[in-house]
């Protein structure tokens, strides 16, 4: 029962570390429409959401995001418009850094103690949310995602 929670913690913990290094200039050719991401259901209006956008299953499972940002939390909802993505398939991971320390907190046994979620509200089923459940299409018209967290 514990193995998957360790894995979940590791997968999300990687998010905090990689956000600092993501600032790739957006691709110019074939730019897709804007992606509007709304985070809802926030019960503790403190800290920040740490968000990563991924373009492959491998990256989603613990690699680098193509886009990452930190979103201050001030109420039950927060949103962000992402531009500059190429058309294609993407998935989003987010954790709520409730205490604002920049990392995903875990308890003494490595189990996440801060809320996390993924695009399509992909569930944790015996492990972290899967790429298959979380991926969505970004077209020339863009995309919209409402992710419930907390």
């Amino acid at each position: 029962m514990f193995d998957h929670t360790f894995k979940t913690a590791a997968v999300f913990a990687s998010l905090g570390l990689v956000l600092a290094v993501v600032n790739a200039p957006p691709a110019v050719a074939q730019e897709a429409g804007a992606v509007t991401v709304t985070f809802s259901g926030i019960t503790r209006p403190t800290g920040a959401l740490m968000v990563g956008v991924y373009d492959s299953e491998a990256a989603f499972a613990g690699g680098k995001p193509v886009e990452g940002f930190r979103l201050e939390v001030a109420g039950p909802e927060a949103s962000q418009v992402i531009t500059g993505l190429k058309p294609g398939r993407y998935a989003i991971k987010v954790f709520h850094d409730v205490d604002g320390d920049g990392r995903m907190n875990t308890n003494g046994f490595g189990i996440p103690t801060e809320p996390y979620a993924a695009s399509n509200n992909a569930p944790s089923r015996m492990g972290p949310p899967s790429w298959a459940d979380a991926r969505f299409e970004v077209t020339a018209e863009g995309a919209a995602q409402t992710i419930t967290i907390d």
């Binding site: 193995d3 003494g108 103690t113 996390y116 569930p123 089923r125």
Partner: protein, 485 residues
């Protein structure tokens, strides 16, 4: 087999499986033994109902509530729990006062229960239930059945499981307040169903994760006094531990978690050749530890421990020779099969010279309890469930075994009853060991009704001083707690 014969056989096998729900139901009903009521489903919460007094009179000065917990919903249309330990926790309140006695019961409103209810099937994995990959599991608490025991503390009733946090329940309404998080960094940390409570109200408990454990110390108010993480010599399955006034005693039986799989019981290997180890920790300094060796045995439950003048530590335990019941018997129960359960009372002594001693008795015994005013201190009496019937999985009697005299004072409820745990309630003004009453429930299979009994703790064999009967027969539960007043 040629292709044509194979297809014919396959078609016949397919046809054989075409039966109507009515046929299935009729077959199941015909094959269910009388004791199956002990693991039957309760459809929903039970509003407060008076209990009918069927025998004797309640002793003067006895007033309070016996809270009990146990699994009470195992089956759903789309799929069932396949292990006794995986039913939804039902908290029962047996209240005794001047107006008579009453029963009320309410399910703990767990994430697991909500998820299984929404799915119309038991999809959440558990101790011995595989579940489905449709289940959402963010942490072990999403599989928490809150079905094993109750700890009244800090004005709350904590419904305990073993691999997750407690659920807080309102002792007055039995309404679920939610998952108990002592502090943000302790969220989802496991809390065993058998905390050890010092006579001054301080609580010690463990939570296990393989070869690591958290040691909890709670103040009598319910606030966390301290927690510590410790390493263990092996990843034993541990349902219970015990304590003296100065030591924590962890029995590391050779039922070892050595792989990661679901359900949890399938991740355990029985390795009797490795024997049982007993780890003793100093409460004041958890780094001070001693390790003892004993022959292999399986146990769920231990009695309160104490130390003697020469430094010997003693505690009793309800032992079986193998984990057969935990692994198979408690699965078989849910499908009406009675497996072997050979649990009996034993005394374990840990001597200062490093020698450990195991003395088994032939007395059938489970659910050991003692006088809570002597927890961790010298005592001689152990309250038990006892009396086995051949071909029946559950016990039918209760009693007190006295280590000093070697005698047992037992009462047999009879072949139509399943006994449940007995607790001690002190008689006001009586400080002697077990000076007071024993209170507990049974399931009367013939009357199809749950009963509440009070015994004089010094005269169990005389039978109950008073018995009450409910209008409903609730499935047999696990552990409870008494709150006076």
């Amino acid at each position: 087999m040629d292709r044509r014969a194979f297809l014919t056989a396959a078609a016949a096998a397919g046809l054989a499986q075409v039966v109507t729900p009515e046929q299935v139901f009729a077959r199941a009903a015909a094959s269910q033994p009388a004791w199956s009521l002990a693991v039957a489903d309760v459809a929903g919460d039970i509003p407060r109902q008076p209990l009918r007094r069927i025998h004797g009179r309640p002793p003067a000065g006895l007033a309070g509530t016996l809270y009990r917990n146990g699994p009470a919903r195992f089956r759903r249309p789309g799929g069932d729990a396949t292990h006794w330990f995986d039913g939804d926790g039902l908290v029962r309140a047996f209240r005794i006062g001047e107006q008579g006695a009453s029963l009320e019961a309410r399910f703990v409103d767990t994430f697991k229960r909500r998820q299984d209810t929404a799915a119309g099937a038991v999809i959440t994995p558990g101790f011995g239930t595989l579940g489905s990959d449709r289940a959402v599991i963010g942490s072990a608490d999403d599989t928490n059945a809150a079905n094993t025991a109750l700890l009244p503390i800090g004005g709350e009733l904590l419904a305990l499981w073993e691999a997750g946090s407690p659920y807080a329940v309102d002792p007055r309404t039995l309404e679920t307040r939610g998952l108990k998080t002592f502090s943000p960094d302790l969220a989802h940390m496991p809390f065993l169903a058998h905390p050890r409570i010092e006579p001054n109200g301080r609580v010690w408990n463990l939570g296990l994760a393989g070869r690591r454990a958290i040691v909890w110390t709670l103040e009598p108010s319910g606030a966390v006094e301290r927690t510590a993480l410790i390493d263990l010599p092996r990843a034993s399955y541990m349902h219970d531990f015990t304590a003296t006034d100065r030591h924590l005693i962890l029995v590391l039986q050779p039922l070892i978690q050595d792989r990661m799989t679901l359900p949890f019981v399938d991740a355990l290997s029985w390795r009797p050749e490795e024997g049982t180890q007993v780890l003793v920790l100093d409460k004041d300094d958890l780094s001070k530890r001693r390790l003892y060796d004993l022959p292999a045995f399986f146990c769920f439950h231990l009695g309160d421990a104490w130390s003697e003048a020469d430094g010997t530590l003693r505690f009793d335990a309800c032992l079986d020779s193998t984990p057969q019941f935990a692994v198979h018997g408690a699965r078989d129960l849910l499908v009406g099969k009675a497996g072997r359960n050979g649990v009996s009372l034993a005394m374990i002594a840990l001597h200062p010279d490093g020698r450990a001693e195991l003395n088994r008795t032939p007395l059938t015994a489970e659910f050991p309890r003692a006088d809570p005013r002597r927890a961790g201190l010298a005592r001689s009496k152990t309250i038990i469930n006892t009396v086995r019937t051949e071909g029946r999985p559950l016990l039918r009697g209760v009693g007190v075994s006295d280590w000093r005299t070697g005698k047992a004072d037992l009462f047999d409820y009879g072949p139509d009853q399943c006994a449940e745990e007995l607790l001690f309630v002190a008689r006001p003004g009586d400080d002697s060991e077990l000076g007071g009453w024993l209170i507990g429930t049974s399931l009367n299979l013939k009357a199809r009704a749950t009963e509440l009994h009070v015994f004089d703790a010094a005269h169990v064999a005389d039978g109950p001083l008073c018995s009450w009967r409910a209008e409903v027969g609730l499935p047999v539960g696990f552990h409870g707690a008494w709150m006076g007043g």
